[in-house]
């Protein structure tokens, strides 16, 4: 099926490539169908493009790229909507807020996106931790890891 998007034009997407978020993203519960677009071959960034709303897309990144020791704890109940038994099988992304200055670019490590690759179901969870925040500067994290 062909889906129109404001950033990427018309995309032909097969049913089995669609990621379904039963609960939407936090604050966007109406939008449930998404498609992940890799930014380009070299880039660690991807886009989470809504297929319900053509202008809605988020930049996402796998947190391990800039925060090697990123670790999340979620309960079985939290994972129930995506039918995930084992968190180690999941694919994890975090949402990025861009800025003109690279040093001001932040990632939300407190509200990661968890995908179950087996059934293409996705979920944004709120972690119950003091360790992570909604705004981690990507550059600071990289620096921290590099300095180890």
């Amino acid at each position: 099926m062909i889906y129109g998007t404001t950033r990427f034009g018309n995309l032909e997407i097969a049913e089995d490539e669609i990621v379904f978020f039963p609960e939407g993203l936090i604050g966007f519960s109406q939008n449930k169908k998404y498609f992940i677009i890799q930014h380009d071959g070299q880039s660690p960034f991807s886009w989470l493009q809504s297929l319900d709303e053509s202008h809605l897309a988020y930049v996402i990144i796998e947190p391990q790229v800039f925060c090697y020791d990123y670790e999340i704890k979620v309960s079985r109940e939290q994972l129930a909507p995506i039918d995930l038994q084992d968190l180690s099988l999941a694919k994890i992304y975090v949402v990025v807020v861009l800025s003109d200055r690279p040093e001001d670019i932040t990632a939300n490590l407190l509200g990661p996106i968890i995908l179950n690759p087996e059934n293409n179901l996705g979920l944004q969870v709120v972690l119950n931790t003091d360790k992570y925040f909604t705004r981690h500067r990507l550059m600071d994290e990289l620096q921290r890891q590099g300095g180890k």
Binding site: Q42, F45, V59, Q124, V126, L142, G146, G147
Partner: protein, 88 residues
């Protein structure tokens, strides 16, 4: 807003399947226990709102904004190490 007075170990029931229990009261903190079906998401309000705000901010991104950044990252952490040495 409906306001109810409850003591420790007392609870309120919302609808058929949500129960909120006052588990402990200590100083100006109240510990609450929530029994609700799995389909009902329960969050601390300030955390929920912060994540909602980040999602809204993130959804304004344009592909060209990412272009510059991707170049920075395409060389990975190696480049950052180099920067570290420069700073010494």
């Amino acid at each position: 807003m409906l306001v109810l007075t409850r003591k420790s170990d007392q609870s309120i029931v919302i609808g058929d399947d949500i129960e909120i229990v006052v588990v402990e009261i200590r100083g100006d903190s109240v510990k609450l226990g929530i029994n609700a079906p799995r389909r009902i998401a329960v969050h601390r309000k300030e955390v929920y709102e912060a994540i909602q705000l980040e999602n809204i901010a993130a959804s304004a991104a344009k592909p060209e904004d990412l272009e510059k950044l991707s170049k920075l990252f395409s060389q990975g952490p190696r480049q950052v190490k180099g920067d570290d040495e420069k700073n010494k």
